[in-house]
């Protein structure tokens, strides 16, 4: 039986903006209905990757296909299959909620016979049925994001590209947004650029980009397990000096921000000795999280939203 065509298949993808290298040989495949989180510090190449996959930017080198269609040679076929939710809602505040969706439906070629039903379902899905006649400009931030999600996914794309779609939302609004996103899982694959570790943890797979390269790729469980049973963090006056000192003692430590991350399968056994050191001000130990994985792979803690 033939393998299903990947929702996204990027091979050796590179791109520069003048002297700045945004992507440097990225390989990334996203299976149909897979949900992948794209993590990375600002400038790591997340948005560039999404722009290329949505045909808004031509790659300098490499190849990207969406559902088997090349972004450069078949842009129209790609646009039929991608849905994009941008960092800021792409909505006209002067239209009503229903008009905004009908406008999108016309753009993405929703068949006329299905249009009303599709819009009604999208409104219900986003919890906006009772606001359908209100102007978009009157919606709260959370509702605006949900409407924008409904807009981006209206044509049930094979690949949904979401670029930090919950930026600026409070935790409750984010939860609601994710509930809506969860209900659309069956439509197709979802590639979500985010700075939020709890959002990444809700994905099937996490890909971390740093300076245009993939530095980690795996399930959240596999990535955290690779750090060992525990993440041991040391607080120090001078983290770099402490990391060097630990290295000479055969203990792998890495200065990250104002702390040192020690990766060792014996982490628990080391706590007492490390705490007693004069150059250590504090010790914390816990099962590793995606934030620890991010810090270990990128060399800096994840950005605080």
């Amino acid at each position: 039986m033939a393998e299903p065509v990947a929702a996204l298949d990027a091979r050796d993808l590179s791109h520069r903006f003048g002297p700045v290298r945004a992507l440097a040989g990225v390989d990334l495949a996203v299976a149909p209905t897979e949900r992948v989180a794209l993590l990375g510090p600002n400038g790591s190449g997340k948005t560039t990757l999404l722009r290329i996959a949505s045909t808004r930017l031509a790659p300098e080198a490499g190849r990207v296909a969406v559902a088997g269609h090349d972004v450069e040679t078949e842009p129209d076929a790609v646009r039929r299959r991608v849905g994009v939710v941008f960092q800021s809602p792409a909505l006209d505040g002067a239209l009503t909620v229903r008009e905004a969706l009908r406008f999108q439906a016309a753009l993405v070629r929703v068949p006329r016979a299905e249009l009303s039903l599709r819009v009604d379902v999208a409104l219900a899905d986003a919890g906006l049925t009772d606001r359908a006649s209100d102007r978009v400009g009157t919606l709260s931030g959370g509702l605006l994001r949900r409407l924008d999600l409904a807009r981006g996914l209206l044509h049930r794309p094979a690949l949904a590209l979401l670029d930090e779609p919950t930026t600026g939302l409070d935790p409750l609004a984010r939860d609601t947004f994710w509930s809506v996103l969860d209900r659309r899982r069956a439509d197709g694959a979802q590639l979500i650029a985010t700075h939020l570790m709890d959002e990444a943890a809700r994905c099937d797979r996490v890909v971390i980009l740093d300076r245009g390269r993939v530095v980690a790729d795996g399930t959240p469980q596999a990535l955290t397990a690779a750090l060992g049973p525990d993440a041991l963090w040391l607080e120090a006056e001078d983290p770099a000096t402490l990391a060097s000192a630990l290295a000479t003692e055969g203990l792998p430590g890495r200065a990250i921000g104002d702390r040192v991350l020690v990766q060792s399968p014996r982490a628990r056994d080391l706590v007492a000795d490390l705490y007693a050191r004069p150059d250590v001000r504090g010790v914390s130990i816990q099962p590793p999280t995606l934030a620890d994985v991010f810090a270990a792979r990128v060399g800096q803690p994840p950005a605080t939203p």
Partner: protein
């Protein structure tokens, strides 16, 4: 493509009609200009070959002013759409760029011609009797002028990143185009340099066509030596070229 063009067109019209201040401003400006200039210059300006008075001469010019300003400024929506993010959503939709241009231009043309028709309805007040044929020609002139200047506005809006830059450029370009189109004063009696500038101005031919239409399709119209055929041919050619220019521009990423 048709559905997308219609959607873009209806959005332009809806958004405009919901902005009452914009509607009032666009309608009030030409009426105000017409009254102030018309009555102000009534006894100072005489039009060669006409004894009808300046108010009558100025009316087609005010219709042209309405078309030009409304057409051009309707494309400010492109700048606003870029800033609000709506343009991004349009650009990732599976639609040819020509559909985007056509939808926006149709919206602008509808608004421009619709409002100009309101100003043109004053024609009988100043003694103009266009008749049915003349009205149709005047409408055609309005459409051709609107297509030309919507397309020009679209090209500028596609390239300029901010609304302020757009306003600055358009004010510099638009007022001279209008003043040198025969809308405000006739070519006859102007200096050679100004007369040449008027002949080179594509709007001159649209304004000339408007004069033929609102004047009831006479053999010649006062204030311009241009024939009906020349006005029509140049207006059509310029509108087509402007549309092609806009479509070509839209193929580039804004």
């Amino acid at each position: 493509m048709t559905a997308a063009v219609l959607a873009l067109w209806s959005r332009e019209v809806r958004v405009f009609l919901r902005d009452r201040a914009r509607v009032a401003g666009v309608l009030a400006q030409p009426v105000l200009f017409w009254a102030v200039f018309g009555f102000g210059f009534a006894d100072s300006v005489s039009i060669p070959g006409s004894d009808a008075g300046y108010l009558q001469y100025l009316l087609p010019g005010m219709v042209a002013l309405t078309v030009l300003f409304t057409a051009i400024y309707s494309t400010l929506s492109v700048v606003e759409d870029r800033q609000s993010g709506v343009l991004q959503a349009v650009l990732v939709a599976p639609q040819p760029r020509s559909a985007l241009v056509l939808g926006i231009l149709l919206g602008g043309v509808t608004l421009a011609v619709g409002q100009a028709a309101i100003i043109g309805a004053f024609a009988p007040v100043v003694g103009l009797r266009p008749g049915l044929g003349g009205v149709l020609v005047a409408l055609l002139a309005g459409v051709l002028l609107a297509v030309t200047f919507c397309a020009f506005g679209f090209v500028m809006a596609w390239r300029l990143k901010s609304g302020r830059a757009y306003h600055a450029v358009m004010n510099v370009v638009l007022i001279p185009i209008w003043l040198l189109s025969g809308a405000f004063f006739p070519e006859a009696g102007a200096s050679e340099v100004v007369a040449l500038a008027m002949r080179l101005n594509p709007a001159t031919y649209g304004v000339g066509l408007l004069r033929y239409g609102l004047g009831g399709l006479p053999e010649s119209v006062p204030g311009t030596p241009l024939s009906f055929g020349a006005c029509l041919a140049v207006s059509v050619a310029v509108a087509v070229l402007a549309f092609v220019w806009a479509t070509w521009t839209a193929r580039r990423t804004p």
